[in-house]
Symmetry: C2
Subunit: 477 residues, 2 copies
């Protein structure tokens, strides 16, 4: 028991210090390790396997809508980065610069891509000639670098993995539709696969992507009441097309600029999974994204027939991702490890169970113990995993609802932000000054203007002038 306690006690309770709890889980669940490069992490097998499952399921959804994958170079010449004015201002301060190739200084320095709009635009300028070449629906999976000052595993690191989609369309309408289509795919993926409910909305001018006409976002609420921007979809209009001269000959034989979009999701999603679902025993993975869905833990495993039965059960569960923990650790220690790693269920099987023709399934989320007949274990595991997936979404949804507040006066607003943890819904005049004042006085930022607008008052929460939009505000990662 001493040892088992040690493993669990290694995690700081989240009520005590949420940031430390997060770091502890990330380390103890063996998702990452720190590296010799400050701000860059090593993603270990347990962490990378989650990313592989995210990647595969997201990629399938992209391809169903006609997206194709490509690969662009990781370097951007300085002159190319500078072509779009807002874009370079947004990214130049935080890129890593390559100045030498081999022994020789480069004629022009290049940055490691912080994002690849400029490369895609340069490519599209050559590739697109006629309306027949449109739309272009490309995506790439790669790593990008942003030289951040403060970093946290998954949430903000100097290098991270992501996908970036870049599309080019004949019309403004088609670009806007694709922007919203990808936002919906992101939201649906978060809810259905990661069991994370999100608010879909539009970013303010101040918060939008450097060079975009409109930025749409999905915002999720973490356990500590902070918001996490979990995916963004940008409509560039024809701004980049004009900067890079991407024109096509339309059916009417006139030259027109294309309209572009880009959209991305990152390894940050793993941070979201941790902070939405985790608890003081460690990680908690939704079944659809769990690399291992069930851990079979033999009890008194040296007794005749126990390991054989465990193997038999594993074989029956061939359609699921199942492992057996047959190490020489104690069952209690194995339970703690399975919980720490967030494996959705464990299956306990010992001599008494075998005699009774049953096994005990324990849910990671509720710790409920369910006796199941070994004959029926396949169907039961399927049911229980589906139930866990649904319940996890439901719990996260309840948490978000309970932590979403509506403020009509600035006093209320400040009170919610200071004393409650969560989103605050409040009206806004549309002015950047008010965003600045609110941030200075409360540290909250405008997260988004939700797609489903409602009117909760006529006046801006800050300046009292006529309101233009409902905004979700919150402290954010």
């Amino acid at each position: 028991m001493a040892k088992e306690k040690k493993l669990v006690e290694a995690i700081t309770p989240m009520e005590e210090d949420f940031a430390q709890w997060y770091t502890d889980v990330v380390k103890k669940a063996e998702l990452i390790d720190y590296s010799s490069i400050k701000g860059c992490m090593v993603i270990k097998p347990a962490g990378y396997a989650i990313w592989e499952r995210i990647q595969r399921q997201l990629d399938e959804r992209f391809k169903e809508t006609g997206i194709e994958n490509v690969y662009m170079p990781m370097f951007i010449p300085e002159s190319l980065l500078q072509k779009e004015k807002d874009h370079v201002e947004g990214f130049a301060p935080e890129v890593a610069w390559v100045t030498h190739g081999g022994m020789e200084p480069l004629q022009e320095r290049m940055c490691v891509r912080p994002t690849s709009e400029t490369l895609f635009c340069d490519f599209y300028a050559n590739e697109i000639q006629s309306y027949r070449d449109l739309p272009k629906l490309y995506n790439q999976w790669c790593s990008v670098v942003r030289w951040e000052k403060t970093t946290r595993p998954f949430l903000r690191s100097r290098e991270f993995l992501w996908q970036e989609g870049h599309t080019a369309h004949a019309t403004s309408k088609e670009a806007e539709e694709r922007t919203i289509q990808m936002l919906n795919i992101y939201a649906d993926f978060c809810e259905q696969v990661l069991a994370i409910p999100v608010i879909k909305g539009k970013k303010s001018e101040k918060e939008k992507f450097s060079g975009a006409e409109e930025t749409y976002t999905i915002e999720a609420l973490m356990h500590d009441g902070k918001a996490l921007q979990s995916g963004t979809s940008h409509n560039f209009g024809d701004g980049f097309a004009k900067a890079f001269n991407i024109q096509y000959t339309d059916k009417d034989n006139t030259l027109k600029y294309v309209h572009q979009t880009s959209w991305g999701m990152t390894t940050r999603l793993i941070g979201a999974i941790i902070m939405v679902h985790g608890d003081n025993s460690g990680l908690m993975l939704p079944p659809k994204v769990a690399p291992t869905q069930a851990m079979i833990i033999p009890i008194q495993q040296k007794k005749d027939g126990v390991l054989e039965k465990a193997e038999e059960i594993k074989k029956n569960l061939g359609e699921f991702r199942v492992k057996i923990d047959d190490t020489d650790k104690s069952p209690g220690w194995k339970f703690s490890e399975q919980e720490m790693r967030g494996i959705p269920i464990r299956i306990e099987i010992g001599p008494k169970d075998i005699e009774a023709g049953q096994a005990v399934i324990v849910r990671r989320d509720t710790r409920e113990k369910i006796n199941v007949s070994i004959d029926e274990i396949n169907i039961k595991v399927k049911e229980i995993l589906e139930k866990i997936q649904q319940d996890m979404l439901q719990r996260a949804r309840s948490h978000m609802e309970q932590h979403t507040f509506t403020a009509v006066t600035f006093e209320e607003f400040k009170d919610y932000i200071e004393n409650r943890q969560g989103f605050v819904k409040a009206m806004w005049c549309g002015g950047q000054d008010c965003e600045t004042i609110i941030k200075e006085e409360t540290t909250a930022t405008s997260r988004c203007m939700p797609l489903w607008q409602e009117k909760i008052s006529d006046h801006c929460i800050c300046c009292n002038k006529p309101a233009k939009a409902l905004v979700y505000w919150g402290k954010a990662y």
Copy 2:
């Protein structure tokens, strides 16, 4: 017809200029495009889809042997790169150096990984404490950078995609076994999936990897008789372990150094597919790696029922990767495109075929036309794709056998290298001087000492001293 000719004529015949033929195929089959960064390429959808199929099938084979995927940072601090003497000498002259992060100069410059041995070693030094932590069987999929002077798409580019496996073992024997195991997986993958036969062997001291104790390689023979190193597997012994101090406490309670391996395959394999299977009509993809396995081309597609029948056939072929070309191009043009892109079969279906209840399948490799009953099309397509896969391997094998020569005297050797295209088998004394002389006089290099050694003479082909090994020699990419 003029237009169709144009597409085909765009390819330089390989007999005329093989290098130009290669470049033409790469461009016309839309595998890559050049980028603004000299020596870096854009991998377009048709090229990247091949890489995705290589990646997925290779990754499955790795995982079956217990390999897990991880992700290491893309940067290596200069001091880390310098820890292993041979390694830094091999790579430092060709790395890209990052000197600034954001607006500030870095305290220590970092290179973009040319390969990640040093990062894995740094990680393992912390991660491995006890014999219980061994073996470590990690792999990563990523891009690496080597600042080459001359570049060619897929074959040698400044940035390329690859996988790099890095394992750590308790014993020398286990490391050697893993090195050979991965070599065998590579060879089997090339033969069974890419339909490319290879020679498995060991590299000479001169040709081995910087820092390795032994380097094993698989060498394939291209259409023009040049060799292409297609995958390598290295046994590091405990050299890196000593440089990075990677020690574990063994069962007997003594500290021991681990023994390591690394092994990699790259997007170069796509170059191999082109140069082993392609012809003057373009690319030719083995069915197992072809993103599209069959292209249905409707004839007189505006006639009633033709497109519907094409759709019906596509639906019946649900287990294969099938597309319909229903664009407004002429059938002849579509045939040329399907051939250029290397799609293994096309299925022609027109009003007369429908009336006869049949379709015409045309093989890309032999151009054989096969009338098949629509009712049986699923089983026929399966048979034909399997046959193509086998025949492609068989043809490539015959080509390699016909272009492998045995030389006993240096005169014979020079004659083969100069006047025939292919591998030359000849005995070698083991001296680097002879390798140097042979290279200077013939431009051929020692490709490998095959695992299956035979003795074709007692004397070194070059110096006439007693021979130590049979070597495959050849001009190489």
